[in-house]
């Protein structure tokens, strides 16, 4: 049993593909279909370009605040790829890659960060909750989804993400306790990117690993190399088996690094050394994943160049559409408050329309 073999109290971290892209744990390589591996990789390339471009657009004044994912792609894609189509994805706010994999379009993602609520309305069959900014609160939503799944025997599993800083929050603790108490089919992946804005994880969290927090809830916890897509896949695959068997939730700590700023409003130079960033650049998930696929003869440098080109075009096209989206209609800020517009809201909206008619915008 995987979770018994890696003791979070001893800081035993699961790794399969090392930073050079070599298999270091032959026996543990998960069986992943070629199509799945390729979907993971293609999403990673698209996600990386989309992410870097979003920051660039923001610097040009064409995008609002954005929370970059650069460096954390494998933690997300290894996780989501191990889930079933029928499962749920419960977001924090730094999961662009998992979203894209699960069917949120790039245009929708961009539209949200562009400042339009319509970007949080994903397609009907996409079982993803909107981006969740209040830290920790999403864990309770995931627990509820998992409870409903268990009660109705739908077989769905809820996969939720949270940051290292988020594991200090009461809401995290409450959601974990709740889900553990009822053996709910929930998986929580902590993206330990080492910082909560300016605050280093080690400074405000005493636990040696974040995975060890699982012990207090009476569930398995495992620390995984979050930049290794194969290790992430394996951990989540096993956690999903547990969930599907009715054995309850699992806590997975993905050890990774946020290469960019917290958001585009943040200046990381205030709290971390360039040297540290450079060390982590060597552990880039994209480099090792590409090498693995080329070694397997699934991929080539030539194909990769083509993919870079088509992905870049896809990103630019998506953003072009977003830039044309304009402002939100007045009706739209009222319309979704309740099922039906109340008389009070109608009055407020009409009074404002009258003002616009009389004074002009």
């Amino acid at each position: 049993m995987l979770f018994k073999d890696f003791d979070p109290l001893k800081e035993e971290m699961l790794q399969i593909l090392d930073q050079k892209g070599n298999i270091v744990n032959d026996k543990l390589v998960p069986k992943i279909k070629k199509a799945t591996l390729m979907k993971m990789y293609k999403t990673m390339v698209l996600g990386r370009i989309a992410d870097d471009k979003a920051v660039q657009f923001q610097r040009q004044g064409r995008m609002l605040t954005y929370a970059p994912n650069h460096g954390q792609e494998a933690a997300q894609l290894g996780s989501i790829a191990a889930m079933d189509d029928n499962d749920w994805l419960v977001l924090a706010f730094r999961e662009l890659n998992a979203m894209l994999y699960k069917g949120v379009t790039l245009e929708q993602s961009y539209l949200y960060w562009y400042g339009n609520e319509m970007g949080a309305k994903y397609d009907e069959d996409v079982k993803v909750l909107p981006i969740n900014v209040p830290i920790g609160s999403q864990i309770n939503h995931a627990a509820g989804i998992a409870y409903a799944s268990k009660l109705n025997k739908t077989g769905e599993v809820a996969l939720a993400f949270i940051g290292d800083g988020g594991t200090s929050h009461g809401e995290f603790h409450e959601g974990m306790s709740f889900a553990a108490a009822y053996d709910l089919p929930m998986i929580v992946v902590i993206q330990n990117n080492h910082y909560a804005i300016s605050t280093p994880r080690k400074k405000v969290i005493k636990s040696k690993t974040l995975a060890q927090k699982a012990i207090a809830y009476g569930i398995p916890g495992i620390q995984v190399d979050g930049n290794d897509p194969l290790a992430m896949y394996l951990a989540v695959e096993k956690a999903r088996e547990r969930a599907a068997n009715g054995d309850g939730p699992t806590l997975i700590e993905a050890v990774t690094y946020r290469m960019g700023p917290h958001t585009t409003s943040d200046n990381p130079k205030l709290y971390r050394e360039d040297k540290e960033v450079q060390e982590w650049a060597k552990k880039d998930p994209l480099i090792r994943f590409k090498k693995y696929l080329i070694d397997k003869k699934y991929w080539s440098n030539k194909k990769d160049e083509e993919l870079q080109e088509t992905s870049k075009k896809e990103v630019l096209d998506a953003f072009k559409k977003v830039e044309k989206s304009g402002l939100v209609d007045l009706e739209d800020i009222f319309k979704y408050t309740y099922e039906k517009l109340t008389p009070n809201l109608e009055k407020q909206m009409n009074a404002y329309k009258k003002y616009l008619d009389e004074v002009g915008e």
Partner: protein, 325 residues
């Protein structure tokens, strides 16, 4: 005197309070090393050390709740909620304990603590970064709610809040953190909590606002030079300076209240009730309020519908002046 923004004025108030009084401690998320996401607490950790100025885990209930404990054990905590929208996990502590400790212990304990929080819209921010939640705090007995609109008041009110024997919720209008500067005294001083400021005297109509909206009202006045308005900057939302309001209404007979907080059950409703109770027969027109709509404050691409601008204030003002009692 020194020229300062609101942000710098708050920083100076914290600095001088810490210098004068060793029991003052300052903490919150990213407050220490970085000096806050807005840099409001910049430089304090360097000067006063990690014991008195520190970064906390992301845990608002712990931040507010620990301030209760520190207060009863001899400290004067000034804690930060990174944005007012994230103060809610700490709200349980505020309502269940911060507001009640004096009463519950029949005066044995009191909490000389301050909970700071940047608030308000108009900064093109992400979700939960733009709310105006005055109502949630003003509604609770035992709390004081203070909102400065100028650098002078920001410093004086903050120093008064830290020295106050009771807990103060200090909302900071982040839209005007750096919007303008004012010449303010370099030495420590206090501005009395519970007293409104007459920002401009006038005879035709009373306009009541606070925070970032005071400036919008002042800008609106340029579009209606024929109206001689009295502008009241409320400064303390609770306990409210009813006397200043009533005196003004008795003089002008008309009132417009402007706030970004949601309309229903909001601060304007309370102000109008007090006016009706104490100056009803002086009114020459029905009291008016221009407020945020009763909808979740929109993300930036729809925020312009929600944000109150000078043009809209001028429009409401003209309508109010045209009304006959």
């Amino acid at each position: 005197m020194a020229v300062k923004t609101i942000l710098q004025a708050i920083n100076e108030a914290l600095d001088q309070s810490m210098e004068k009084d060793d029991s003052v401690v300052v903490y919150g998320e990213d407050v220490g090393h970085e000096g806050g996401v807005f840099r409001t607490t910049a430089g304090l950790q360097k000067k006063y050390g990690e014991g008195r100025v520190f970064d906390t885990p992301i845990a608002e209930a712990a931040i507010v709740g620990s301030a209760v404990g520190m207060s009863v054990n001899g400290l004067k905590p000034v804690v930060e909620m990174q944005f007012s929208g994230f103060s809610l996990p700490g709200y349980n502590q505020v309502v269940a304990h911060v507001a009640r400790f004096r009463n519950r212990s029949r005066g044995k304990y009191h909490l000389p603590m301050v909970v700071r929080m940047p608030y308000g819209g108009g900064v093109r921010a992400l979700e939960h970064h733009s709310e105006s939640l005055e109502t949630l705090y003003a509604h609770i007995p035992g709390l004081k709610l203070v909102i400065p609109s100028t650098p002078y008041d920001a410093k004086g009110l903050m120093m008064a809040a830290i020295n106050d024997a009771d807990p103060v919720i200090f909302m900071e209008p982040k839209r005007i953190y750096r919007a303008f500067k004012q010449d303010i005294p370099e030495e420590p001083y206090e501005v009395e909590i519970g007293k409104a400021r007459i920002a401009k005297e006038g005879n035709d109509v009373t306009i009541i606002a606070w925070g970032a909206l005071v400036r919008e009202v002042e800008k609106a006045m340029k579009q209606v030079d024929d109206i001689d308005a009295e502008i009241i900057d409320l400064r303390t939302i609770s306990p409210m300076d009813t006397e200043t309001i009533i005196k003004s209404i008795k003089k002008t007979g008309r009132v417009l209240i402007v706030h970004e907080a949601y309309k229903s059950f909001g601060p304007a409703a309370e102000i109008i009730s007090r006016i009706n109770e104490e100056a009803f027969f002086y009114l020459e027109a029905a009291p008016k309020r221009l407020t945020g709509f009763d909808v979740t404050i929109p993300l930036p691409k729809g925020e312009h519908h929600f944000i109150i601008d000078p043009k809209q204030i001028a429009y409401e003002l003209k309508k109010l002046m045209a009304e006959k009692a």
